[in-house]
Amino acid sequence: MDKCRVNIAILEPSTVLYEGLSTILLKTHHHYYFFRFADLEELAVMYKLTPFDIVVANPCMLQNKQKAFVRLKKKMPQVYWIALVYSFYDDELLSLFDNKFSITEDPKVMLNCFERACDSCKCNEKPGKKKLLSERETEVLIALTKGLANKEIAEMMNISIHTVMTHRKNIVEKTGLHSLPALTMYAISKKLIAFEPGGEP
């Protein structure tokens, strides 16, 4: 069984290298999915649809585009960036990546690089975290199931809308549930709210 699904975006102009890279990676036990892109812009567009865990990029694709690269990195905070190096690049450019490997290295070195990336990727982080909702988060959840808007919750709890949003983000992260009906069911099953037959919010 696969441990988790890892989405890998690859920015590499050479098809030979792309095919070689994906073949080596597919031999591991990870559930890797590959997406190949022609440039940074395409990658940025697709990221909205499919959040990537790892981006492997040939630094030549980013030369003279460092500003755009830094901006994109900020927009994609969970992504682990790996440089695929086969010629000389200056350290300043390479230092923008989280890790790098050269194509002349042993494939094992490259696989280690990906293992490390997977360790830091979000799906492996979760199990260690505390999952139970805090008291405040529970209050926000109950208010949500009653159909209150963010602004009303903020006023009721005497906190800022920003804080409400943070609580909501944590609730989604901890329960894995996004939609209101699902959160309502969660609240009922945990006996946080009473069940009202036919009373769909």
């Binding site: 031999k27 890797y32 999915y33 590959f34 649809l49 996004h178 009906p181 099953s189 945990k190």
Partner: protein, 238 residues
């Protein structure tokens, strides 16, 4: 959904071997009506036998194996739109008449046995969700497919973008999010004492559905939409 190693599929590969490697491909065969014994038939022969456009079939097979096409790989000279639509239409049939009723039945069985409070909510949630999915499927059948036929017949002049691709993607995201919620509820939060077998059946069905819906939306976003854009472009420029 079960495989960890995937092959990039080419026309001369033996179809039976590929199915053994990735059983989900059976769903793909079913959608093109490829129902006879596979013997040692390779992919290209199978396509010829059933008159399915080989490039389309290969593209879909590879999607099932986790290889996503790029925009520039899609072109109407090579990829036959009618086969894509056939695939999508038959997937709809699979969701509407097989997968959703199956899950609904399981939930109904749960309802008979369990403390009904949670399960009643689950039924409502699933019912609403299914309604939403059907709405999306109807939208495709009533808006998208007829638009495709117009384009193919060259009758779509002036009728630019009868539907918006952004809206299309939003539908998909919404459907996927709710399904993931349902899976998380079942797996993490609802305690179904003594009904482990039923729980496993529901989860398997949900995961199979999730996997197939994901491929379905990728086919529409990565293959259908670019194809339509090509055709629209050709249409506008004579």
């Amino acid at each position: 959904m079960y495989q960890t190693h995937r092959t990039y599929i080419k026309p001369d590969m033996c179809m039976a071997d590929l199915v053994i490697e990735n059983p989900s491909l059976l769903l793909l065969l079913e959608r093109f009506g490829m129902e006879t014994a596979l013997n040692d038939t390779d992919v290209a022969q199978l396509c010829e036998q059933y008159e399915v456009n080989t490039p389309v079939f290969l593209l879909l097979c590879n999607l099932y194996n986790g290889f996503f096409p790029q925009r520039k790989d899609i072109n109407p000279e090579q990829h036959r739109l009618t086969d894509i639509i056939k695939y999508i239409k038959n997937s709809h049939r699979f969701y509407t008449f097989e997968k959703y009723p199956q899950i609904r039945d399981y939930i109904a069985q749960l309802y008979e046995r369990q403390c009904p409070e949670d399960i009643q909510q689950l039924e409502i949630f699933f019912g609403d969700y299914f309604e939403e999915v059907q709405e999306h499927l109807r939208y495709e059948e009533e808006v998208v497919f007829p638009y495709c036929s117009y384009l193919l017949e060259g009758k779509a002049k002036g009728e630019i973008n009868a539907f918006s691709s952004a809206e299309y993607r939003d539908h998909h995201t919404d459907i996927e999010t709710k399904l993931a919620d349902l899976k998380n509820l079942m797996l993490k939060h609802l305690s179904l004492d003594g009904d482990f077998i039923l729980k496993r059946k529901i989860l398997y069905a949900l995961m199979e559905l999730e996997n197939d819906l994901y491929i379905h939306s990728q086919v529409e976003e990565l293959v259908l939409l670019p194809l339509l854009e090509h055709l629209e472009f050709k249409d506008r420029n004579g």
